[in-house]
Subunit: 206 residues, 3 copies
């Protein structure tokens, strides 16, 4: 049977890898050198969780477990190498990114909640863990973070975190709560991509 | 009578609200979605204090007291809604922003000083608390932070913090020191806006 | 004789000063006001070390020892003043920046390693301490960080950190290890500048 701990570690490693890949692919057109690509991949992958741990006053996860760093670095370099020979379909990138987003959102909410934070703070930490890495990547690459403008992106992260927390408060098993959170978040993000759902755009009147 | 504590809480809530409002209004022309507007308003409102607490190694204020987050979110969404019906005069925005800047500057200096930091570090923390939220907002919105170029903006935050600290060192009551800091900072910033006072612009010779 | 402690303090002060100078010179063409110049110089100088200490959960170095802040501020203002009368040769700036980069890389690796971090994390902390201040400066100034694109820049920081750590693991004296790290890093960076060595540029196929 799956323990909550092994599910968490698996989701964490998978999230770090797919976010690193999506980070590398997203900045491909910027003429960075190989080291810059590596840095951006790793920042995308670990940025959100780092910010969460620092704000919560917890030990930063990759300082405790450097394997996350190694996975992020290998995924980034592998992507850069592979990408020379194979065109990665945009659809696959978006899917990987959606998976990373929702994995990290439930993991962030879980870590905050299990260390004693309240529900509002835990939900915000889920959101932050999901979106902050990609925002850092975009800022470093000189762009307005897509997160702030893309179809239900941050919304899906928040939905995943809130679903996870609601399941926990309802007394459900941790693995069930994790699955529910990932399921809802992923469904929302993929539906938004498929039918181009969007929140209303905000615009100051001129 | 007013206790220092209730004055601090009142200033903090007011500062968070006006900074969230100014954050939303400042990014109005960027075609963000509603969620992006919410995120930028909240980041503007709590960014400076978050950075201060993290650097000082203190618990982050909105993790301890999530009411600040809620106030920032409500202020951001209320502004986005209201703004569809009423044109907010630019003068009102600048005034609110100046109030937030000086409130946060004295609060930041106060928090650092009361937790044992020295005078130089406390003054820098006041400055940081006042200006960092707006800098984060500008960076996320893809702009060079206005703080770095605007009329006596950071200068007013530093003046507010230094005035507060000088009053404390002189043995004055905490509420008096807070009032003096806000008064001096606000006066300086409003005078700069009224008469367009500026520090000399720095320019490398070509 | 030189104690490791006095060498560390000397390298730290020198690194803060040269990074503050390079920060001011790098943003000279942005029409910032004098306060903005001061802020960017100081952020460039202390940003990397601040991030390192926050991620490691250590007290931030300039909160413990505000002299670093004062040195950075004086160096920034002195550079802004001097630059009106003397054209600083580009070669001198690059040399100073290379020195700051490698000083900070070994210092960052040293601080992480001596507080119990493993080798991977210590090497990453050296890299981070060396490059993060300049990255922050570039982001605040509205540019894609040069670090991500420049000739063996981050590579030199990593080489300095790894050399230092290898020397420590091999049981060499701390001062020897510091000198070896600075020597290797500086040699690599200066060679890259002299002969324009670069890592391959990464580019997504169109």
């Amino acid at each position: 049977v799956l323990s909550a701990e092994s599910v968490l570690f698996g989701l964490g490693v998978a999230g770090v890898a797919v976010f690193s890949i999506s980070g590398v692919l997203a900045v491909g057109r910027k003429e960075l050198d190989l080291f810059g690509v590596l840095v951006l991949g790793v920042v995308t992958a670990v940025g959100g969780g780092t910010l969460r741990d620092v704000v919560l006053g917890l030990p930063v996860f990759w300082v405790d477990e450097p394997a996350y760093l190694v996975v992020a670095a290998v995924a980034a370099l592998g992507t850069a190498a592979l990408e020379r020979f194979v065109a990665v379909p945009r659809r696959a990138i978006l899917l990987a990114d959606a998976a990373g987003l929702t994995f990290f959102a439930v993991l962030g909410a879980e870590r905050a909640y299990d260390t004693g934070a309240g529900l509002v703070v835990s939900a915000v930490m889920g959101l932050l863990t999901g979106v902050a890495g990609g925002m850092l990547r975009d800022v470093l690459a000189g762009e307005i973070p897509l997160v702030l403008r893309r179809e239900l992106y941050a919304t899906a992260a928040l939905a995943a975190a809130v679903t996870y927390l609601a399941a926990r408060v309802a007394g459900l098993d941790s693995v069930v709560a994790l699955s529910a959170g990932v399921g809802i978040g992923l469904a929302l993000r993929l539906a938004a991509l498929r039918w181009q759902l969007e929140l209303p755009v905000y615009r100051v009147r001129d």
